[in-house]
């Protein structure tokens, strides 16, 4: 098949060709970026939390006086431990995908000059890190005497575990074990590195920062109370959580059960990502509508061209072109137009990505999205043109002999 005559024909329909190419280009730009947004949201939803989510639940209590905190902790821990099927109950200030109580900026020196980053301090009582089920990759976990009592908002001079992502950020290339850092005047020493421990609110943080967490062991007390981590077999968990929630009425009538916050971690996670799921749905809808409209446009214009060229097609058929030749002609014509559109579309996609990067916290569009977008649009173009092209191929040679 020669491309020359096709180009010559297109040159006579410059405006229509240009319009279709422009439509393809715009579709390409939106498609690539929308797919990229979807991929980002999906990655967020499937993020590795590092904890045994399906075995964990939390109960959140508030509304009690400070001086009752120790008593409340004792009553709740003892009461919950009596629930059949409960594997462990511990106190943990922040909960992955749940309550957030330890977000703070830390520094690498006492003077507070070398800022480390805004991290999540998970302050937990005995058994809480084990209950979370995080994987220790270096150093040691908390030992019994690491859990010290504290009086301020946070423990001081504690031996802590930090995530690998945070260690890599704070001391790239160096061994984090034995390093120290500060939170105001409070000092901490790294004794262990854990694989992953997600922040309570990962959606609000870009990239690796979702995993910037620190576990600080401490004894329960006024500033570590009311936030409980429950662990049970995933099969027992719904019942165990229900019984624990009911038990609060009896063992802590003065406290208020946070209905929204006291849930299984799986449920909290699903709720936390609900908006992202909705956004994915919306983006998929837009992409579908976009492809549909683009395809309709191609079908409409191709049909028009087929109709307009019936006589020429008839003549070509009469002088020896096969049905296949006619079919190929329209397919190649479409391929050329779409290719032109894609070439422009790739530039537009890149430009749109730059705009999005400026206004939203979005990373750069990886280059492999461009060929994927191109493949989709080529496929769409061929699919859309198939109907009109088949109709063209069906034009009988006898048309050539008729005057109109």
């Amino acid at each position: 098949m020669q491309i020359q005559p096709i180009l010559a024909a297109l040159r006579r329909h410059r405006l229509a060709t240009l319009l279709i190419a422009l439509e393809i280009a715009l579709a390409c730009a939106v498609l690539c970026n929308a797919c990229f947004l979807i991929a980002n949201r999906i990655a967020l939803i499937h993020l590795d939390s590092g904890v045994d989510q399906s075995s964990l639940a939390t109960v959140q209590l508030t509304g009690y006086e400070d001086n009752q905190a120790n008593d409340l902790n004792a009553r709740v821990l003892a009461g919950f431990r009596g629930i059949p099927g409960m594997q462990s109950v511990s106190v943990l200030n922040s909960i992955p995908f749940g309550a957030r109580r330890g977000t703070a900026g830390m520094t690498l020196d006492q003077a507070g000059q070398k800022f480390g980053g805004v991290v999540e301090f998970y302050v937990g009582g005995p058994g809480s890190l084990k209950a979370l089920g995080v994987k220790l990759v270096a150093g040691r976990g908390p030992q019994m005497d690491d859990f010290q009592a504290f009086t301020g908002l946070m423990p001081n001079n504690a031996s802590v575990q930090i995530t690998r992502a945070l260690a890599n950020h704070l001391w790239p290339g160096a061994d984090p074990l034995g390093k120290t850092f500060w939170l105001g005047d409070l000092q901490y020493r790294v004794v262990g590195v854990i694989d992953h421990l997600v922040r309570p609110d990962p959606g609000g943080w870009p990239g690796d920062r979702k995993d910037w967490s620190i576990f600080v062991p401490a004894q329960t007390g006024v500033f570590l109370s009311g936030s409980y981590l429950l662990r049970a077999d995933p099969k027992d968990l719904p019942r165990v959580l229900r019984e624990a929630r009911d038990m609060v009425r009896k063992i802590a009538p003065d406290a208020v059960l946070d209905q929204e916050g006291s849930k299984a971690l799986d449920d909290l996670r699903a709720e936390g990502f609900q908006k992202d799921r909705a956004m994915i749905g919306m983006l998929v809808g837009v992409i579908a509508a976009l492809l549909l409209v683009t395809a309709l446009g191609i079908v409409g214009l191709a049909s028009f061209w087929v109709q307009q060229r019936r006589r020429q097609i008839g003549i070509r058929r009469a002088i020896g072109a096969t049905r296949n030749d006619i079919l190929r002609y329209f397919q190649i014509e479409n391929f050329l137009i779409v290719s032109g559109g894609i070439a422009l579309g790739m530039l537009l996609a890149y430009a749109l990505n730059l705009v999005l990067m400026q206004h939203y916290e979005l990373p750069r569009l990886p280059l492999y999205y461009l060929p994927i977008g191109a493949l989709i649009l080529w496929g769409l173009g061929q699919l859309a043109v198939l109907g009109p092209a088949l109709r063209a191929a069906a034009v009988s040679p006898v048309v050539a002999t008729r005057s109109v």
């Binding site: 229509a16 279709i20 508030t62 309709l296």
Partner: protein, 434 residues
């Protein structure tokens, strides 16, 4: 003449039903998506107090240390420390002024077996209600004397009154909040400005239900109720004594009724900060006095996702318009012979142009009607989304009319190029070819 064009257009559209349906459908999808997202955007970026917003101002100052300060470029802090808030309030430079912070109130119902529950609460000062035009169902607010005297009183929202007192006039009755008995002095009518401008940066939601409990700042602090959000600018010796700690936790609003009053207040604010610098309390002299809408803009209260969706919908509409241009062009080129005949019979270019624009307009109106349907469907979808503003997403009269404006503009813009091509066609070759 117009009626004739209308008839011609309808006839032409009828002749090629599939192509017409394609055009209307594509345009309707684009319009539906645009109107859906614009409705949400309008809802979220709307004026929470249209009658008052131009007179409400949010003063900001900056008590931070000198480090990192670039004169003229560093923005002052969003919140205010207690001493500064009180100094500004006591200066009485505005028609009204109030300081506020959000907190959680533990409400203990009187009914037997009822469990205590938490409600969103505002701890504020006397002018709050008058300044924000909060309407009272029963009773009224409190006085500045009540503020100073730490009076044990409270104003509750209508929905809390419904819950606790079955909607009866509860003024004078007692409600137990955070284990203290407080006397109800006022019950508000339903009042929930959207966005909840005064809650910005105080740690609350931006949209959704209004607050349930309003109590005097001093009273609440005496009951050890703490603010939802606290930002400290220096080492804190004791976080419990927030009044003296170097921490910001209050938002201050002032009502200023004229441009002169605004200028005066800005001068006063600058003077106050300079005075604090002289006293050694402050190092930075930056101040800001934004009006309500300016403050909301600076706070970027509209969620990123919503702006992204609106942008996406506009991109989609653009593609739909390009698509319509292509299809209209195909249609009009197909009718070259007809145009040739009309021109030969004396129709001017302007008349041909008008005829094709009328045709495009009809496609637009049809797309608008169908687009309205899509928009209603889209908003139905939004109302089922897990967002705090979801239930508010409804098409109002303005957006209803705007739909047709968008539809007409889109289709007429799409129609210009095909109509122009049609009117510049030379009649002779077309007649010959026919």
């Amino acid at each position: 003449m117009f009626a004739y064009y209308l008839e011609l257009a309808l006839r032409s559209l009828k002749r090629n039903r599939v192509l017409t349906a394609l055009m209307v459908m594509a345009l309707a999808l684009g319009i539906g998506a645009t109107i859906t997202t614009l409705t949400v955007l309008r809802l979220l970026s709307g004026d929470p107090l249209p009658q008052k917003s131009a007179q409400l101002f949010y003063p900001q100052i900056d008590p931070n240390a000198k480090e990192g300060y670039i004169e003229g470029q560093t923005k002052p802090d969003q919140l205010m420390a207690y001493p500064d808030a009180m100094n500004l309030l006591q200066a009485h430079r505005g028609t009204h002024q109030a300081a506020m912070a959000l907190t959680q109130a533990k409400v203990m119902p009187k009914q037997v077996n009822a469990r205590p529950f938490f409600s969103d609460a505002v701890m504020t000062t006397a002018d709050f209600f008058a300044m924000f035009d909060a309407p009272f169902q029963y009773g009224g607010g409190w006085t500045a004397a009540d503020d100073d005297g730490r009076a044990q009183l409270v104003v509750i929202a209508g929905f809390l009154n419904d819950k606790l007192f079955a909607g009866a006039n509860s003024v004078g009755r007692v409600i137990r909040i955070n284990d203290h008995d407080l006397r109800i002095v006022g019950v508000l009518k339903p009042w929930a400005p959207q966005p909840r401008f005064y809650a910005q940066d105080l740690g609350g939601r931006s949209y959704g239900d209004g607050d349930a409990v309003f109590l005097p700042l001093q009273t609440a602090r005496a009951m050890e109720m703490g603010p939802q959000d606290t930002e400290c600018y220096a080492a804190v010796p004791d976080i419990r004594h927030l009044e003296t700690a170097p921490c910001e936790w209050l938002g201050v609003w002032v009502e200023l009724d004229s441009g002169a009053a605004v200028a005066d207040y800005k001068t006063f604010l600058d003077g106050y900060v300079k005075q604090q610098v002289a006293l050694g309390r402050f190092q930075r002299t930056e101040t800001s006095l934004l009006d309500l809408m300016g403050w909301l803009r600076q706070e970027q209260v509209v969620p990123d996702d919503v702006r992204l969706q609106a942008g996406l919908a506009f991109g989609f509409l653009l593609i739909c318009v390009v698509n319509t241009v292509g299809l209209l062009l195909a249609k009009c080129l197909r009718r070259s012979a007809e145009i040739g005949v009309r021109r030969a019979l004396g129709a001017t270019r302007r008349e041909i142009f008008t005829q094709f624009m009328v045709e495009a307009g009809i496609v637009g109106l049809a797309g608008g009607v169908l687009g309205l349907l899509f928009a209603e469907l889209g908003l139905l979808g939004i109302r089922h989304q897990p967002a705090e503003y979801a239930s508010l997403a409804h098409l109002d009269t303005w957006m209803f009319m705007f739909t047709f404006v968008v539809a007409l503009v889109a289709s007429l813009v799409a129609g210009i190029l095909p109509a122009w091509r049609a009117c510049v066609l030379a009649p002779a070759p077309q007649l010959k070819a026919a």
